[in-house]
């Protein structure tokens, strides 16, 4: 071996380092180029039967998020229904677990698909899409006649929260298809067998945890420790219950001191106690499937989740498990919101990209999805609550769905929600990190709310981040 190569190594690397920025500057004239929109052909003539002017021969590309609900509902229910009206339109059906990874470049490239179920942990940032005008304005669909009855508008068969939630910059552009109902989930059989009762106050809840812990039969509580958003959900709902809906409104609007408000501190303190005393061992390192499976194996009694849970767990749940859910217990008698207050929000966000090849077909697909039959079959198949009014009527509901339906009936108008999670992705990341720390004792409740307040302030002061109000 000679010495030459090694000496070259040094000199060359040094020179290389020196020349690199120059090379960069030389070619700097190139910029990201985007194609012209693929072929946003003008719609055909519209009519009552064809309100968007769909070209019956144009193919339709559909992407479904392959998560808790799978994709059978799309291939077995929605697409056949669409086909009955448009037998000549070829549907290109796709599934993915990583919506962003797969579809973001399609948007950037100007050739997005026609219908997207933008859901899951890796969903696309709707704010960014809205900001760039990538979302089709779905208002015409709201005002179009419903699939089943020409006399009734689509708007009138929808849960009003759907419209509020789907509106970005004054345009209704995101259709939440499922009514997510959040709560604490348990096995009705386990509670019955052990004589445990559903707690209505926080004291009862803590006592129940203590009883379960002492019984030695299972751990009292767990959450998806790898994804602490599963825990900041009940924490925020509790804060809203204590301090009223404006707690969450202020947080969404990035108001000064919204995170460090008293109700937030109280709720954080309450949950930190659960974190310190009643968690299943190893919770911090487990994900939602692992914790939910542990519950199915009767290793833990309760966990926070949403109405998708029952379907997500259908393969591991014992037949007599009997899922049930209860709302966040009363913290004190002076809570601003009554017992039964629920966090509900439309989920499974369907969008129609405005720069896709067939946005008219996309809207028509959504309209078909909102037919009573499609929505009802969907609810039954994936055991959940649809946003279409009355779609669950006369359907055989599973125990968990029944329990959630009862809870939402009991809640009446006392429902809350928050939107900062989708509006400000950075704040979500920070809340995830901080909540994990709160539950494992890494930060105190005071530090927790201050830390999130600081992040919210940073976002508020960052001119490059688009702000939203509700």
């Amino acid at each position: 071996m000679t010495n030459t190569p090694h000496h070259i190594t040094r000199r060359a690397l040094l020179r290389a380092a020196a020349i690199a920025p120059v090379a960069g500057a030389l070619a700097a004239c190139a910029t990201p180029q985007s194609q012209a929109p693929a072929s946003s052909a003008a719609p055909l003539a519209t009519s009552a039967a064809n309100p968007f002017g769909v070209d019956a021969k144009k193919p339709l590309e559909v992407w479904i998020f392959d998560g808790g609900f799978g994709d059978a509902y799309a291939t077995d229910i929605h697409q056949p229904l669409f086909k009955t009206k448009y037998p000549d339109a070829a549907i290109k059906h796709n599934v993915t677990k990583e919506i962003t990874k797969v579809l973001q470049p399609r948007f950037a490239g100007g050739n997005p698909p026609d219908v997207i179920d933008n859901s899951g942990a890796n969903a696309m940032d709707l704010g960014a899409l809205a900001q760039d005008g990538q979302l089709q304005d779905l208002t015409p669909m709201l005002d179009a006649p419903s699939w089943d009855d020409p006399a009734v508008k689509v708007r009138d068969i929808l849960d009003p929260a759907v419209v509020e939630f789907g509106t970005y910059d004054g345009k209704f552009s995101v259709l939440g298809y499922v009514n997510y109902i959040h709560g604490i989930w348990y096995s009705q059989k386990v509670f019955r067998d052990n004589g445990w009762t559903v707690p209505t106050t926080w004291d009862e809840f803590l006592k129940l945890c203590e009883t379960i812990k002492k019984s030695g039969k299972m751990a009292p509580f767990t959450y998806a420790g790898k994804h602490p958003q599963y825990l900041y959900e009940p924490l925020l709902t509790m804060a809203a219950k204590i301090g009223g809906n404006e707690v969450l409104v202020n947080i969404d609007n990035l108001e000064d001191g919204a995170w460090s408000s008293e109700p937030m501190k109280t709720a954080a303190t309450a949950w930190a106690e659960v974190g310190a005393k009643y968690l299943m061992e190893g919770t911090a390192g487990l994900d939602h499937v692992q914790t939910q499976t542990a519950q199915n194996k009767y290793q833990v009694a309760m966990l926070p989740s949403g109405s998708w849970l029952e379907n997500e767990q259908k393969t591991t749940t014992p037949d007599d498990f009997e899922y049930g859910m209860f709302p966040i217990p009363d913290f004190t008698a002076s809570d601003k919101m009554p017992h039964g207050t629920l966090h509900t929000q439309p989920g499974e966000s369907f969008i129609v990209p405005s720069k896709g090849a067939n946005p008219q077909g996309g809207m028509e697909y959504l309209r078909a999805m909102l037919s009573k039959k499609a929505a009802g079959d969907f609810s039954e198949l994936v055991r959940t609550v649809s946003v279409v009014k009355g779609a669950g009527e006369g359907r055989e509901l599973s125990p968990g769905a029944k329990s959630a339906t009862a809870a939402i009936a009991a809640a009446g108008a006392n429902t809350v929600y928050y939107r900062w999670r989708t509006w400000y992705a950075q704040l979500h990341d920070e809340a995830v990190a901080a909540t994990g720390q709160l539950m494992s004792g890494g930060v105190t409740p005071e530090e927790y709310v201050q830390r999130l307040q600081k992040k919210a302030d940073e976002i508020k002061n960052d001119s490059s981040i688009k702000k939203y109000k509700r």
Partner: protein, 303 residues
């Protein structure tokens, strides 16, 4: 004259394809990245706005990014240090550490060399997924299972923010050691045997053999190893992104520059900002290259 022409034609023909490919796929994207770093591009629009150095000003107060930088810096020191120490130790044992007279490896040294190399041939993503399972926080984890059977509390290898970084480092060392054992073995093989034998006759024990002969003569190879491992430490991505909770968590305790770039670009859709982070990473990498070349500029030992 004709020869000169033929020669020129040959040179052009041979360089055409490689240079074209390189300019199109490597140089032009990098050049564009420098421009994108000065825009507010969110990745879905055709017309990004020019914002000058705003992104760079912003990143100075980005706590998470600087946390990532310190993690890269820690890896830059620890990964080469730990890997090289372990690899040198084994290379020495395998090549010089034989028993008795003469100089050779311990019995089965060939077997060990083959075996230690195994992790190197596995894809980083495979290693990341594999260790995700090894590190499971309950009794079903390869490590926590026995720990809990012994009555110890389970260790949150990936879920405890104080431990997770060390788990990442451990996995990187685990994968790297084999290659450097082989590398150093090759270096040792090129050292004349009689140097060791002469020293042994002089009564040098194995420890002094290592420090007086092996290390000085291997110094050049060690430097090469240091640069390689340093680049690995700067570029680390897949192990963190795939293996750790929350892609660099918990609580950003394992995040590195590359994951922050990816997160900002492909999760927050701030391509302009992500490119600015990339530019900073670029200068860090170049700084490291210059620094390590400066430091390694010392006399070679001729033999």
């Amino acid at each position: 004259m004709f020869n000169t022409y033929r020669r020129g034609l040959f040179i052009t023909a041979f360089l055409a394809a490689p240079v074209t490919l390189y300019l199109v796929y490597v140089i032009s994207p990098y050049a564009q990245a420098f421009y994108i770093a000065m825009t507010d591009w969110r990745g879905v629009t055709a017309t990004p706005n020019f914002v000058g150095l705003d992104n760079f000003v912003r990143l100075f107060s980005d706590g998470v990014f600087w946390k990532a930088v310190t993690h890269n810096a820690a890896l830059l020191v620890l990964l080469p240090l730990v890997t090289i120490v372990i690899a040198l130790f084994f290379a020495f044992l395998l090549n010089v550490g034989s028993e008795g007279r003469g100089v050779g490896g311990v019995a089965g040294s060939k077997f060990y060399r083959v075996l230690f190399f195994f992790p190197q041939v596995l894809a980083v993503t495979v290693v990341a997924v594999l260790f995700q399972q090894v590190f499971r926080p309950d009794g079903s984890g390869m490590l926590n299972g026995p720990l809990m059977a012994l009555g110890a509390r389970p260790v949150g290898f990936l879920s405890d923010p104080d431990v997770a970084f060390w788990s990442v480092l451990g996995v990187m060392v685990w994968q790297a050691v084999g290659f450097y054992v082989v590398l150093f073995s090759a270096g040792l093989a090129s050292i004349p045997r009689d140097m060791f034998e002469a020293a042994q006759i002089d009564g040098a024990g194995r420890v002094s053999l290592f420090f007086r002969i092996t290390l000085p003569l291997l110094w050049d190879t060690v430097q090469v190893a240091w640069v390689y491992l340093g680049i690995l430490a700067m570029d680390v991505f897949a192990i963190v992104w795939v293996m750790t909770d929350q892609h660099g968590g918990p609580d950003f305790s394992t995040t590195v520059m590359a994951t922050e770039i990816y997160r900002n670009a492909f999760q927050h859709f701030r391509f302009g900002y992500a490119s600015a982070l990339g530019v900073v990473m670029f200068f860090f990498t170049i700084g490291f290259a210059i620094l390590s070349l400066r430091l390694s500029r010392r006399e070679r030992i001729e033999y």
